[in-house]
């Protein structure tokens, strides 16, 4: 096996090609350029929109995805409530973006990998990670609470775009072993401005790796609007610079997301290399509870996105298809409620933190320096009295 790099047209740069190649060149460009409009299969009114390239996923698939959507929304609401009640320090909600979250999880197979960010808790849970373990981070018990290998879900990354490179490495290792693992790596619109975004897409393209880069363009990076991140016609256009296909999709259309991401994942698994998918969506709430969105956007702007809600449109579509009726709705609502209750109970339970943990995992074998420091802390804590010197600062 050798490192297979590149794409069909690679190599043609060495020498100017003859005129016969020009059409092929333009075809290649067309292959990389995203469709002129974000792909949409179900419109905000819940009606199917025909698309030549992307067939509508079947009803059963949409129904189970819808179930996750409702659960995801409930998770966001419940997490916000827990923050208000002081059970969690902070929660970056994906309210409004749940269709992206659900599709990111559902388009992958069990052996595939997901690389989420701080905002992608709903996707993490949809992939099967235990909710309480996932919220360990935001509750402040530890920097990450689940075993990434259990569901092939990497840690929820905070430093923007850095995780895209880890995704590339995981895919590269799998490819070198001849496995057909696909990796889906998520980031926001703001993160596309970071150098690591560029390096990750380029590495994936040059090494022809099965990575789907999934940008949730929710129009804001905290307070900074998209227009301050990019003046390209779309973020998906960035694919051209790496020689990979770019696609845009309505990020509030669960059906379109499943279709577009599904195709990119299949293509990657079949050796077609990486792709960039941009979902056009909106962050309905503040960046986190610590943020104040009224400082930088109007209520009017937010209001425009309300009728495009991803849940509502799927509900309408599925109801009209008769896939969804009162009984099914109730069943789904019940499941969402169970998840919410589990979340609440889990987070209301007091957790014990162990100061010895501070020193346990820094190295596989504790260094003599850390042994000394741990001993010092242990000794400090073991003194019966709350210290001779009073209460501390």
């Amino acid at each position: 096996m050798t490192i297979s790099t590149g794409s069909p047209w690679h190599g043609s740069m060495q020498e100017p090609a003859g005129g016969a190649d020009l059409d092929a060149r333009r075809a290649v460009e067309a292959y990389m350029l995203p469709s002129a409009e974000p792909v949409r299969l179900v419109d905000p009114e819940g009606r199917h929109v025909h698309n030549d390239t992307y067939p509508l996923p079947d009803g059963g698939a949409l129904l189970s995805a819808y179930r996750e959507l409702v659960v995801g929304r409930r998770v966001n609401d419940q997490a916000n409530a827990l923050v208000r009640q002081g059970r969690m320090a902070v929660y970056p909600s994906s309210h409004g973006q749940e269709a992206c979250q659900v599709a990111a999880a559902l388009c992958l197979g069990a052996g595939d990998w997901l690389f989420p960010t701080y905002r992608d808790t709903v996707a993490v849970l949809a992939r099967g990670v235990d909710p309480i373990q996932a919220l360990t981070l935001l509750r402040g018990d530890w920097h990450s609470g689940y075993d990434p290998y259990e569901h092939n879900v990497s840690i929820q990354a905070t430093p923007l775009a850095t995780q895209l490179l880890h995704a590339v490495g995981v895919a590269h290792a799998a490819k070198l072993r001849g496995e057909n693992t696909v990796v889906l790596a998520m980031c926001g619109d703001g993160a596309t401005s970071e150098g690591d975004f560029h390096e990750a897409l380029n590495f994936a393209a040059v090494f022809h790796l099965p990575v789907v880069f999934f940008v949730q363009n929710n129009q804001y990076a905290i307070s900074v609007p998209l227009s301050r991140q990019s003046v390209a016609p779309s973020l998906a256009h960035k694919a051209v610079g790496y020689g990979m296909p770019g696609e845009r999709v309505d990020g509030n259309d669960l059906a379109a997301l499943l279709a577009v991401l599904g195709k990119a994942v299949d293509r990657a698994r079949d050796g077609g290399g990486p792709a960039l998918v941009e979902a056009h969506t909106y962050r309905m709430q503040s960046h986190t509870n610590a943020d104040d969105a009224t400082r930088y956007r109007t209520d009017d702007e937010v209001a425009q996105w309300v009728p495009r809600d991803p849940l509502q449109r799927m509900r309408t579509y599925l109801s009209e298809l008769k896939l969804l009726d009162g009984a099914v709705e109730e069943d789904i609502a019940g499941e969402a409620e169970r998840v919410a209750t589990a979340l609440r109970d889990g987070l209301n339970a007091e957790t014990q933190v162990d100061p010895e943990d501070l020193f346990r995992h820094v190295f596989s074998e504790q260094t003599s320096q850390l042994r000394e420091q741990a001993a010092k802390l242990r000794e400090e804590l073991s003194r019966e009295e709350p210290s001779a010197h009073g209460s501390g600062a």
Binding site: A89, V90, L137, L138, R139, G140, D141, W142, H143, T158, P159, L160, G190, A191, S193, E194, G195, D196, A221, I222, S223, V224, R228, Q229, S230, A290, D291, D292, R295, Y296, T351, V353, P355, D357, L358, F359, V362, Q369, L370, Q373, L377, E380, L381, S387, A388, H389, G390, S391, G392, A393
Partner: protein, 330 residues
């Protein structure tokens, strides 16, 4: 007449006053415009001075830093905000290879009068990457002036001084102090002397010296107060300016007291605290009744919120260290 300001507002006022005084000062970074920064340090600057004086950039720290280098080369005085300590790391190459070296590389032909503001250190229950004490990386890099205010008046005067400084300044803002308040006389401060290269004795004492800076100064002062109740007189030196370092003030204090504890939040290994210990024992060896001890963060990644109180230098830990200073002869 004095006014009561928070540390954050003092910084905000310093920026505004300096932008008013010098039209070449420009402020930029992530969320510094409409939002006024996640800590509101740049609040109102865009409204008051216009978008060309205070503006948001694309989300890219190396880009922010590299653009600041070019702007400083071309007549402006950029003041950039890194949103949190650990989010300055993507700019590390620009800081180490260009910000720090450009003036020397060009034999002073190119000066880089720019300020890198970094909300730093912990104690606020922040999640990972939001609590790093990164001063040692910068202090070790020749060419950078590295300072950290520990009081509200210093927040104001030192930031103004940083902006006027002819060389690049890493300006470390202890996050946990942002909400602290003090009365101060802004008018008097406007004409106060420079503080770069000058430590201050924040509390006088005779038995031992606590040497510290930034977020740990208040903890040290609390420790000194507690010690006083136990009949021990501790002097507290606020270093303020890490580079250049005020050997004179620090050494004078240690020579007087004969004992010293260095306190800092960063992991201790190969840190600014190590440096202070090394300098003090080199310069005050024969005055020392005991080794110079350190109370620093452990050599571990900054802990999650629920564990940070185990990590941070505390009054108790400082007093324990003072107790270890071999008082048998006292």
């Amino acid at each position: 007449m004095g006014t009561t300001l928070t540390f954050a507002k003092a910084l905000n006022t310093a920026l505004a006053d300096e932008m008013e005084a010098d039209p070449t000062v420009v402020v930029f970074g992530e969320d510094v415009g409409a939002l006024g920064g996640v800590f509101r340090i740049t609040d109102g600057l865009t409204a008051r001075f216009g978008e060309e004086r205070c503006f948001d950039t694309p989300l890219a720290e190396s880009g922010i830093m590299g653009m600041a280098v070019g702007m400083a080369m071309n007549g402006l005085r950029p003041v950039v905000e890194m949103q949190f300590d650990a989010f300055a790391y993507p700019a590390f190459e620009q800081v180490v290879s260009h910000v720090a070296k450009m003036p020397n590389r060009t034999r002073g032909k190119v000066k880089l009068p720019l300020v890198i503001r970094i909300p730093y250190a912990g104690g606020i229950g922040g999640v990972e990457h939001h609590c790093d004490s990164s001063e040692s990386y910068y202090a070790h890099t020749p060419g950078l002036t590295v300072v950290s205010p520990a009081t509200v008046p210093d927040a104001y005067t030192m930031l103004r001084e940083a902006i006027r400084h002819p060389d690049p300044v890493v300006f470390l803002e202890p996050k946990k102090l942002y909400w602290s308040k003090e009365d101060l006389e802004l008018e008097a401060l406007r004409s106060s002397a420079g503080s770069f290269g000058r430590a201050v004795v924040a509390r006088e004492g005779t038995d031992a010296t606590l040497i510290t800076y930034g977020p740990s100064v208040s903890t040290a002062l609390n420790a000194a107060a507690a010690a006083a109740e136990e009949g021990r007189s501790l002097e507290v030196v606020d270093v303020r300016s890490i580079v250049p370092f005020d050997d004179e003030t620090v050494s004078a204090s240690v020579r007087k007291t004969g004992r010293a504890v260095v306190i800092a939040e960063a992991p201790g290994f190969a840190s600014v605290a190590s440096e202070i210990v090394a300098r003090v024992q080199e310069r005050c060896f024969h005055s020392l009744a005991a080794p110079v001890l350190r109370v620093t963060g452990f050599d571990i990644p900054y802990p999650a919120p629920k564990l940070e109180h185990f990590y941070l230098p505390s009054v108790d830990r400082i007093l324990d260290a003072v107790d270890e200073l071999q008082w048998e002869d006292a």
